[in-house]
Amino acid sequence: MTPAAELRGVGVTFPSGVGALSNVSLGLPAGAVTGLVGESGSGKTTLCRVLMGLQAASSGTVLFGGEPLPALLARGRLAFRRQAQMLLQDAAGSLSPRMTLRRLLAEPAAIHGLPRKEAWARTEGLMRRLGLSPDLLDKYPHQVSGGQARRVAVARALVLRPALLVADEPTAGLDVSVQGELLNLLLDLQAELGLTLLVCSHNLPVIRRITTETVVMYLGEVVEHGPTAALFTSPAHPYTAALLSTRPGAPGRITLHGEVPSPVHPPAGCRFHTRCPQAQTRCTTEHPELRQAAGQTVRCHYPLVGDPAPQEMA
């Protein structure tokens, strides 16, 4: 199946010298839910911005529906925006405090010059699905709860019927008692509309539950990629293993020592070797390439699963 969007060897270096992404290759299967995990500074947000055409890649190729993104953007930014929408992390903060929910919900159709009546009918349909009462329409964002503001942001993103939705931490800051409902609604709409969904999150139980593929990033690189179920039951990369062990109730917590190194001067060799519990001499000098280990793709000289051959070489 052709991926809905694809990155091939994408790198992003900021003028400050910060290498935010390094040689990232990644395909988002059309109509599927992919999860992106990693800690602060791993490059998750930059990756989302590259996919949305908000940040140009310094190297490599970004494809959307098989077409290079720069060409699509040159043809028309608005047309591309109708295809790819982003749910920002601070949903409440992304809503103008000076506009009522009615105006906020009508704004996407106005910007894109869609027929007003038809678009509003669609908005009303989405509001019903999202459990947003029409009584809320004349309120301002600060007058509604965090969960409601989040649902307004979802309606704004989906009214354009995009093919791709990138959700950056869709539940961050939401109380646990309401996060489940929001995710249920998002997944219902995803299935109904055949959306390709990329979810970036710190919340590992959420990623495990709602995605079919998971991508793990560390310091701007993809360190592991594979089917969610396999990756969570038998992680191949030591970083994935440590990250997964922080989940509540996970057996045998692996405590990593040291801090995440600066992305300005990433460590030589494997970028994770400074914190890796099983780093060896080779890891300090030789940068590992992505390779297959069992069903996953992993960037490690000594993966925890699959092909045991490299261990013998050590």
């Binding site: 008692s177 309401v178 489940g180 139980p205 062990s245 405590t255 020592h257």
Partner: protein, 320 residues
């Protein structure tokens, strides 16, 4: 168990444009000597306000603060301002959620630590100050403490700054340490290390730790006792393992059910409805509008916290 701190009937109201907000509606809570007590609740439950009320660091719109918070025979809420000032940072210390804003950007880490030491032991020599400050950094597992003492807060990562905050709290040697979401701003793998430090802190501190968090699983893992807050009230208290394996209050049960299980499938769990509006004063149980077990009696009568079994209490007439 002797209580180091006994909070009874703590009420706090604040003036807002929409009317009087009832932030704390009568908190009852005992903090046992030597215990780590977890205070869990969702946004608006009053957990941070509770900590600030104990330190009396309250904004100007507070219109009512009643009840008692007795520690070592002294009611914190009745202390004169000057005496309260002397308690802050010595007998009661606090670790805030965001270590980036809790440290002064103009001063080095060394200055922060030495200030705490001088307050505690005036007249310490420069050499003694340096030795003790370095030892404190080593205690919180910061490598190369001598160099770190010369660093400014912005030169450290978030996890390192929170370690510095913990080192400051250690040097203050408080009887009661308040920690308000100390790991919420940190990454998961960094959080694991900080939680490890808290476990060790209990032995170093003679007193108790009040650990405030929205994360029930984290609190269950770290704390000895749990108090579950909802809408400005404690709805359940008890030893952590008992509360999390056999909750007595329907809210605790619903909150536990919201945890996303490995290997689960189908709809994700949630609690229908919204948290209570602090401006309203419901006549009955604060959780009644969202409670799956609600009956007419729940809506009519307030539900005070009552003992349900040795060491455990719940604010629900149905709890047994």
């Amino acid at each position: 168990m002797t209580a180091l701190l006994r909070i009874t009937g703590l009420h706090l109201d604040a003036r807002t444009p929409r009317g009087t907000a009832h932030i704390l509606r009568g908190i009852d809570l005992d903090v046992g000597q030597g215990r780590i007590v977890g205070v869990v609740g969702e946004s608006g439950s009053g957990k941070s306000t509770l900590a600030l009320a104990l330190l009396r660091l309250l904004p100007g719109n507070v219109t009512r603060l009643d009840g008692q918070a007795v520690m070592d025979g002294t009611d914190l809420l009745a202390l004169p301002d000057a005496a309260m000032g002397a308690w802050r940072g010595s007998r009661i210390a606090m670790i805030f959620q965001d270590p980036a804003t809790a440290l002064n950007p103009l001063f080095t880490i060394g200055t922060h630590l030495r200030d705490v030491l001088r307050r505690r032991q005036p007249g310490l020599s420069r050499a003694a100050l340096r030795t003790q400050a370095e030892a404190a950094l080593r205690r919180v597992e910061i490598a190369d403490p001598a160099a770190r003492l010369r660093a400014y807060p912005h030169e450290l990562s978030g996890g390192m700054r929170q370690r510095v905050m913990i080192a400051m709290a250690l040097l203050a040697q408080p009887t009661l340490l308040l920690a308000d979401e100390p790991t919420t701003a940190l990454d998961a793998t960094v959080e694991a290390g900080i939680i490890g430090l808290f476990r060790g802190l209990r032995a170093d501190l003679g007193g108790a730790i009040l650990f405030i968090s929205h994360d029930l699983a984290l609190v269950a893992d770290l704390c000895d006792d749990i108090a579950v807050l909802y809408g400005g009230l404690v709805v359940e208290t008890g030893p952590a393992p008992a509360v999390t394996t056999d909750p007595a209050h329907p809210y605790t049960a619903a909150l536990l059910a919201c945890a996303i299980e490995d290997g689960g499938s189908g709809r994700l769990p949630s609690i229908p409805g919204d948290v209570p509006d602090p401006v309203t004063e419901p006549p009955g149980c604060i959780f009644a509008p969202r409670c799956p077990l609600v009956e007419a009696r729940c809506r009519a009568e307030p539900q005070p916290l009552r003992p349900v079994s040795p060491g455990r209490a719940a604010a629900c007439w149905k709890a047994a």
